[in-house]
């Protein structure tokens, strides 16, 4: 069985198990993305981990769809080291109070990726053990990868030290 057939079998199995919670599948150039309802994303992740050996989390990324409803998107990039399959799961969350359940209990390595997502998009991960910003300091108020954040930044948002040490 080729990799594509195996992956399609996994997705069929996923659809049969979670029925209506698997909202849509898209594919391009051999990559398949499965969109799952927000409430079920943790269940789907742990089901894939247990049933189909998706034991290695490569990446979690956020994206800003810039739409009026379900604005933010979280994409999980997971592979199985045993079968060599790669699957992309995604879920959408609303603009006001975007909260996604954490997957750090399944893959501890999700920790930093989720922190990055929080830092860049302001998506909160419920149950995350240590949800701090990762790149920017805690004192920073904005989430820079949101589309409304200007490319040049916001003047005065980061207090920078004066160039001469004895200035004050």
């Amino acid at each position: 069985m080729s990799k594509e057939e195996k992956l399609n079998a996994v997705i069929e199995d996923l659809k049969n198990t979670f029925n209506d919670d698997v909202l849509e599948t898209t594919s391009h150039a051999g990559d398949i993305q499965v969109r799952v309802a927000l409430g079920k994303i943790h269940d789907v992740c742990s089901w894939l981990y247990k049933t189909h050996d998706f034991d290695y989390l490569v990446d979690i990324l956020g994206a800003d769809r810039f739409t009026s409803d379900e604005r933010f998107e979280v994409i999980y990039n997971i592979i199985s080291l045993r079968t060599g399959l790669r699957i992309f799961l995604k879920t959408w969350c609303p603009e006001e109070n975007p909260v996604v359940p954490t997957v750090t209990d399944i893959w501890p390595g999700a920790n930093w990726n989720e922190r990055e997502c929080w830092d860049m998009f302001g998506i909160k991960f419920e149950g995350h053990p240590d949800l701090r910003r990762i790149f920017l300091p805690e004192d920073f108020k904005y989430h820079p990868l949101r589309k409304e954040f200007p490319l040049l930044g916001i003047p005065g948002s980061l207090p920078l030290p004066t160039t001469t040490p004895d200035a004050d």
Partner: protein
């Protein structure tokens, strides 16, 4: 007695107060099951290391809680080199963004260029000529050797051998000369293009590469003689920074660090790109998962790279080096200078660039020297990506380092940072 609060009280930061306090608080909260007992001898302390520390390979900051010389728990603070390249990518065309990738993992710029180009070619469905694929493979493997040489020099210097650094840098210097001939730049070469490569290899360059692949195995042999039975080197690395198979997978270590626990996960075999399925090579693995295993893996990988380069040079097919499609790639300089259409196409490519289909997204990863380097691109049908996520191997490896450091000796910290081989330019993005 009041140890718990003393972390925060002792430090009265004047700069980024909230950030410092959150970091100290997080260190205090780590493994809440461990009770902080009384400390009658006063051996406990919190040590700040970096970001301006010469052995942290850039601007990595470590917050270590020590009991005597042993690290009880630690936190890594990254982001001191954050430039927001993902935000920049959304405002540039794909080709314009490529020089920024050079400056991410600045020890192996060629791999980063190829990673971006292959990802864009995948989403825009561009086929590239055979010769370009082989040229890219040669470049990638040279970059891998170059990166591993720096790892080797710096890590061995961390264990105390200064002169070794000079020897690996002598070889790196030869690689710079090759890259100078290869694409016109010694360091950040930006030689790859979407749809092919910028220029063909000159006969001089091929001779230089052949000369290098002939003499470099002798250098590796000499270094093996020096290090493989060296008592000091062994004692500094053996059983230092061990990570179990289970933890390595759970924390998502990648590249040589993952292969050092016995998992042959290599993108060149996992999902072959370019022409890696046509050349013969092995993926070295070890089972120990300590710092010494990581050293052996990288040494063997350099030999495998030489093998790949030799095969590529033998197989190097004749033909064009860039796709002949003006909608998908830059025209050659001859066309630009001597024909009207060429100039218009060049202008269009610079202005709008490659436009992948609207609303599609895909991911492509290559095996960079440090591990899986992937680009996740979402397209909105214009020449700019809607969202470009860079999956940087150093970022994931540093997360593993936080796990590895727990329970180690303070003196081994620098060796472990060297062994995991992070590049802050890449992890901070």
């Amino acid at each position: 007695m009041e140890i718990k609060n003393s972390f925060i009280d002792k430090t009265n930061p004047t700069f980024f107060k909230k950030h410092q306090n959150a970091l100290y608080k997080s260190l205090e909260d780590k493994h809440t099951t461990v009770d902080v007992e009384e400390d009658p001898l006063g051996t406990r302390m919190v040590l700040n290391m970096g970001p301006q520390h010469p052995a942290t390979h850039g601007v990595l900051r470590l917050l270590l809680e020590l009991d005597g010389e042993r690290i009880l728990r630690n936190r890594l603070d990254i982001g001191y080199l954050h430039r927001g390249v993902e935000k920049i990518a959304e405002n540039k065309t794909y080709q314009e963004f490529m020089p920024y990738t050079d400056r991410m993992d600045y020890l192996s710029p060629y791999s980063n260029n190829v990673a971006l180009c292959t990802a864009v070619e995948k989403i825009a469905e561009i086929e590239i000529p055979e010769r370009a694929k082989y040229i890219r493979m040669i470049g990638c493997e040279l970059a891998r050797i170059s990166s591993h040489l720096l790892y080797l020099g710096a890590m061995v210097m961390d264990t105390g051998a200064i002169s070794f650094f000079i020897w690996t840098f002598r070889e790196r210097e030869r690689l710079y000369d090759i890259f100078d001939n290869f694409g016109g730049h010694r360091f950040t070469i930006s030689h790859s293009r979407i749809g092919g490569v910028h220029n063909d290899l000159s006969p001089t360059c091929i001779d230089m590469i052949r000369e290098f692949t002939k003499s470099f195995p002798n250098e590796i042999r000499d270094w093996r003689k020096l290090l493989n039975k060296n008592r000091i080197f062994y004692d500094r690395n053996l059983n230092v920074g061990q990570i179990s198979h289970k933890d390595a997978v759970a924390y998502g270590l990648t590249g040589p660090n993952l292969r050092a626990v016995g998992i042959p996960y290599d993108m060149r075999k996992f999902s072959p790109y370019l022409r890696y399925d046509d050349v013969e090579f092995d993926v070295p693995t070890r089972l120990e998962g300590d710092n010494l295993a990581r050293y052996f893996i990288r040494m063997e990988e350099m030999s495998e790279s030489i093998r790949i380069i030799n095969q590529c040079l033998d197989k190097l097919p004749k033909g064009p080096i860039r796709t002949d499609d003006a909608k998908k790639t830059y025209p050659s300089k001859d066309e630009v200078y001597y024909s009207m259409e060429g100039m218009i196409h060049d202008f269009m490519m610079t202005d709008t660039g490659v436009c992948p289909p609207e609303g599609v997204e895909c991911y492509h990863a290559i095996e960079a020297p440090k591990g899986e380097l992937g680009f996740y691109i979402q397209s909105d049908g214009t020449g700019h990506p809607w969202r470009m996520k860079i999956n940087a191997p150093s970022f994931t490896n540093l997360q593993g380092l936080e796990k590895i450091l727990d329970g180690q000796m303070i003196a081994d910290t620098v060796v472990l940072i060297g062994g995991v081989d992070p590049v802050m330019g890449e992890s901070d993005k």
